[in-house]
């Protein structure tokens, strides 16, 4: 437990402290610390190669951290196996899509709800009554998500045949099906036009407001990040260079230098 929690202040949902990741000799993340408060939308920005996706992959336990701690609801994430992250309440999407290509849209979303059911091999083989109930509840939740994201028409389509933008929406629905407390969105605006970005902004807000999901958002689309985020964290070459409100970060000299280049 950190000092803030000891004083009685609400502990942050996510508390990253001194996180370092190296691949061979390359430093991907160096001593990165920041917090994400429950119920907020936090933008994570930085030029290509700044370490944003690396950070997501550490949170998903796809990459190993060399140093530092990550607390989620006060519990250390780095002790958890990869498949325990979703049940804890962390859902994510992937920058370059990681859908189950041969499965239908509906089945992809239902897989997202895997961690919210418990029927294993034996229970499924014997089709125990609770398995039917779980499947029914998951099916109903899936239909609602498909409708919310405008995917109902495509429910039976194999996901591999859909356009990039639609697949991104399927990934979002899949992540939401796990009923996350924290949602990691990796470049959700990739491949979207202006109008669609506006829709996405409203969608992210309603995910926070209506579903009560905290959002950590990696995005290059500055307009979207600055409009939707409560707080923004900027990374460059694996280090945190700024953090604060969108206005503060936008006017930060380090951030401007990182994006535009210029003399030190």
């Amino acid at each position: 437990m950190n000092a803030a929690a000891a004083k009685g202040a609400p502990a942050p949902l996510l508390d990253i402290d001194g996180l370092s990741v190296r691949f061979g000799g390359i430093v991907a993340l160096e001593d990165v610390s920041f917090r994400v408060e429950s119920g907020t939308i936090c933008g994570l920005i930085g030029p290509n190669g700044a370490g944003k996706t690396t950070l997501f992959n550490v949170l998903s336990r796809l990459y190993r951290a060399d140093r530092g701690t990550i607390l989620f609801e006060g519990r250390s994430l780095l002790d958890q196996p990869r498949h325990a992250i979703a049940p804890l309440g962390i859902g994510r999407t992937f920058q370059n899509l990681a859908l189950f290509r041969t499965m239908t849209v509906r089945d992809n979303v239902m897989i997202g709800g895997h961690c919210r059911a418990r029927g294993g091999f034996l229970a499924n083989a014997l089709r125990l009554p609770f398995v039917g109930r779980e499947e029914h509840a998951l099916g109903a939740r899936t239909e609602r998500l498909l409708e919310t994201l405008g995917l109902s028409e495509l429910a039976e389509a194999p996901v591999g045949a859909l356009s990039f933008g639609t697949q991104k929406r399927v990934e979002l629905a899949r992540a939401l099906a796990s009923a996350p407390k924290l949602l990691l969105l990796d470049e959700p605006a990739g491949g979207l036009n202006h109008e669609e970005v506006d829709e996405l902004r409203e969608l992210i807000r309603s995910i926070r407001d209506r579903l009560g999901v905290t959002v950590l958002l990696v995005e290059h689309h500055m307009n979207l990040v600055m409009k939707v985020s409560d707080r923004v964290v900027a990374l460059d070459f694996g280090r945190k260079i700024a953090a604060g409100t969108p206005q503060e970060v936008q006017s930060d000299r380090e951030v401007i230098r990182a994006y535009l280049g210029g003399p030190l």
Binding site: L62, F100, I111
Partner: protein
């Protein structure tokens, strides 16, 4: 992406006024009715062949669960078939356990064996897993011949067992009874397989095959699922082996050579990967095509077999079931042109 669309017609597609689901049910009912009538229509060698198809279908479903649905390759399922067959043969030979009770015991033993083999094999991907299972396939017949185990396995001589008679004074010949006994197991295991593959577990198996990292991110314990799947798959194949032993009334190491494992793999690919019905078509193929090849040319049956196999792969690259799906979709569009997409 037109190919993807046509291979999977929409669930609601109509064909001659009936949905695809209905047609599948009709097909299933017709198959079951035929299967039940068969022992009264054919006898002797013909019935033996039919019974072997029923038994192979179980083994192929087991391998298909592993390879078709979960994406793990096995060149060694003949070994689990052998373990199942030998379990039944040894129990019948050495103990007073009734024949019907040996089948679940053989299945249970193979479940454990498959799970234990699957645990270390998890670390192996693709080609390497295929090699490890290949090792299992070539080692098993030799172990069965091993002198120290002679007292159990009968060494190269194998074990002769007697086939059961119909119980409760049923008016059935021995071979008819055995056929129904095997058919009942097949139906039971297909129902269990259907339950496993359509729900939460089935989705998880396919998810692991399609994208293992994303599957883990969804909270699926890949290691557990893959090893249990290996066990379940081995259990199916082991039960098939046990039934096969009753059918052949004899087990010997040379019945379970590497070629048996390859035939299983041929069966699931020809029948259709990741399809339950495919197991049946595959079983028909691996049972009948070698016989037909033998009748065509006594001199080079393997060459004929190879030619037929190549023709199948060439004309039905997605297996018999894949071809049926495509045909069904085309007919559906031809008979009742739905709203174009």
């Amino acid at each position: 992406m037109a190919t993807l669309d046509s291979s999977r017609p929409a669930a609601g597609a109509l064909f001659a006024g009936l949905s695809l689901r209905r047609w599948k049910l009709i097909g299933l009912a017709a198959t079951l009715a035929t299967a039940c009538a068969l022992p009264f229509l054919v006898s002797g060698y013909q019935l033996l062949l039919a019974n072997q198809v029923v038994v192979y279908a179980i083994a192929l479903l087991g391998l298909n669960i592993l390879t078709g649905y979960n994406g793990q390759f096995s060149l060694g399922h003949g070994a689990f078939y052998a373990i199942g067959a030998y379990t039944t043969a040894i129990l019948l030979d050495k103990t007073g356990i009734p024949y019907w009770a040996t089948i679940p015991l053989a299945g249970g033993l193979c479940l454990v064996a498959g799970f234990l083999f699957g645990l270390p094999a998890l670390r192996l991907e693709g080609h390497y897993l295929a090699l490890a299972t290949f090792a299992l396939a070539i080692a098993t017949p030799q172990l069965l011949k091993y002198k120290r185990f002679d007292f159990l396995t009968g060494g190269v001589q194998g074990i002769v067992i007697t086939a059961p008679d119909a119980p409760f004074g049923l008016p059935l010949r021995g071979d008819q009874w055995l056929y129904f006994f095997c058919l009942a197991w097949t139906v039971l295991l297909f129902v269990i397989g259907w339950n496993l593959l359509r729900g939460r577990t089935g989705r998880a198996l396919v998810a692991i095959r399609d994208h293992p990292i994303a599957a883990a991110t969804m909270g699926i314990d890949n290691a557990l699922y893959k090893s249990v799947t290996f066990g379940v798959s081995a259990m199916y194949t082991g039960i098939a082996g046990a039934l096969g032993a009753l059918l052949a009334q004899f087990v010997s190491p040379d019945s379970f050579d590497f070629f048996l494992s390859v035939r299983f793999l041929v069966g699931i690919v020809v029948g259709g990967l990741a399809s339950m019905a495919g197991a049946f078509f595959g079983a028909i193929f691996i049972e009948f095509v070698p016989n037909i090849a033998d009748q065509i040319s006594k001199a080079a049956p393997q060459a004929i077999y190879g030619a037929v196999l190549i023709a199948f792969i060439f004309f039905m690259p997605t297996g018999v079931v894949g071809m049926l799906r495509i045909l069904g979709a085309r007919l559906g569009r031809f008979v009742a042109p739905g709203p174009g997409r």
